[in-house]
């Protein structure tokens, strides 16, 4: 049984993440209408939003502490929120501001928050090896922290993932690989590119448990992750956790989704893990007024972060030349001419 307070926290994080994506979408489209110009507006570049993926983030991260490492892929915001990444500084990063997590150098696919051991990468599956490395460090130092690598179902065909499974298994490292299966890799449906019924089956050849959570349910994810994280923490090696989620938006903002059947988009809208968890909370005696309060808290938190971020200064262009190395910044200037 999951305690009601845990559920309440998970709900609050889920509505925060959902609200965050809705508000970022609005901010992103600012200056991009009627002509959609990817480089215009307060947030330029690609933006991959995770509405519909929240259960996979909160159900796993509920078992993690700051010392545990999480790597996320190109669609990272919900996981960052669940891991406790500083929301103000993350938002400032997405707006490209000087006080952002990465001084405006990283952007939304490259968020780093060492205070809570969170990082991400925009190259498919390339967060897996560093997660194995974090686990290796914990193992060598006899610490009981674990590492979690998030990836999409499209990423499971990438060498970096398969090699990481093997390295983690053969060294019995404390890693949990969490696949967020939203059925689509941009425009490619899963059955076009990966010939297994469920991604969890991938674990079979690596001698590790493969666990499938086949419906987008935060409690089911929480329970599966309790076992997987516990296994890792107790020194029993890695697990592959495969969670069904739903892509409620395009792959990135700007994706007209012409390839996607309407019924599939509608289904993703209909199956909402947040609504499901709200029902569970009601069953556990949390009334609508309290749920409403949690939603309002989340909205305020998101609004505050966006407001703060937008008030932050843009970086000084000269700063572009710094941070290539932590030592000897002069060496980074590309010569002295």
């Amino acid at each position: 049984m999951v305690g009601v307070n845990t559920l309440r926290e998970m709900y609050e994080q889920m509505v925060t993440a959902r609200r965050y994506e809705q508000r970022l979408q609005e901010e992103y489209l600012e200056g991009k209408q009627p002509a959609f110009d990817i480089s215009a507006g307060p947030i330029p570049g690609e933006l991959h939003l995770a509405a519909g993926h929240e259960a996979a983030a909160v159900g796993v991260c509920a078992h993690l502490d700051d010392e545990d490492t999480v790597t996320a892929p190109h669609r990272p915001h919900h996981v960052a929120i669940a891991k406790g990444v500083d929301l103000d500084r993350m938002t400032a990063e997405i707006f490209g501001r000087e006080t952002g997590l990465c001084k405006g150098k990283g952007g939304h696919m490259h968020l780093f928050d060492p205070d809570v051991n969170f990082a991400c990468s925009g190259i498919i599956a390339q967060g897996c090896p560093p997660a194995v490395g974090a686990a290796m460090a914990a193992d060598k130092r006899n610490e009981d922290s674990v590492a979690v690598a998030y990836l999409g179902e499209g990423a499971v065909d990438q060498g970096a993932f398969l090699e990481s499974l093997n390295l983690a298994a053969v060294r019995e490292l404390p890693v949990v690989f969490v696949v967020e299966d939203n059925d689509w890799a941009i425009s490619m449906p899963q059955d076009r590119i990966t010939d297994v019924d469920t991604i969890a089956e991938r674990a079979d050849g690596f001698d590790m448990p493969g666990v499938r959570v086949d419906h987008d349910d935060a409690i089911a994810v929480y329970e599966a992750a309790r076992d997987a994280v516990g296994r890792a923490r107790n020194g029993n090696g890695p697990t592959l956790l495969d969670v069904q989620v739903h892509r409620r938006m395009g792959h990135f903002m700007g994706d007209a989704e012409g390839y996607r059947p309407d019924e599939d988009s509608e289904r993703a809208q209909r199956l909402d893990a947040i609504e499901r968890l709200a029902d569970d909370l009601r069953d556990r005696g949390v009334d609508d007024a309290e749920l409403q309060e949690l939603r309002e808290l989340a909205e305020d938190r998101v609004e505050d972060a966006i407001e703060w971020a937008k008030a932050q200064p843009e970086p000084d262009p000269a700063d572009a030349h710094e941070d290539v190395f932590v030592d000897d910044p002069a060496a980074a200037s590309g010569g002295d001419d």
């Binding site: 209408q33 009627p34 002509a35 959609f36 395009g250 700007g254 994706d255 007209a256 012409g258």
Partner: protein, 83 residues
């Protein structure tokens, strides 16, 4: 004789809730010859891009909406001089 290049007939059903768009690209200069069915221009409705074919053969007499210009659904995009 001239024919209007109209934006209403190419408007996609899934963009029914939108009524503004942009001409992203013209493929024929004013004065250029076109055959009926040739792609004249590409319009961008939010994130969807749609090719606009020439309704008739002739000469593109006028681009009523310039490249990168905004227009409203139903506006005439250009004029073809026929015969």
């Amino acid at each position: 004789m001239s024919t209007d290049v109209d934006s209403e007939s190419v408007w996609p059903a899934d963009a029914d809730d939108v009524d503004e768009a942009v001409v992203a690209n013209w493929f024929v200069r004013e004065g250029g010859a076109v055959d009926a069915g040739d792609t004249l221009c590409e319009i961008q409705i939010e994130k969807v891009s749609v090719d606009v074919p020439a309704p008739e053969s002739g000469t593109l007499a006028e681009r009523t909406v310039p490249e990168n210009g905004e227009f409203r659904r139903g506006d005439v995009l250009g004029r073809i001089e026929t015969g």
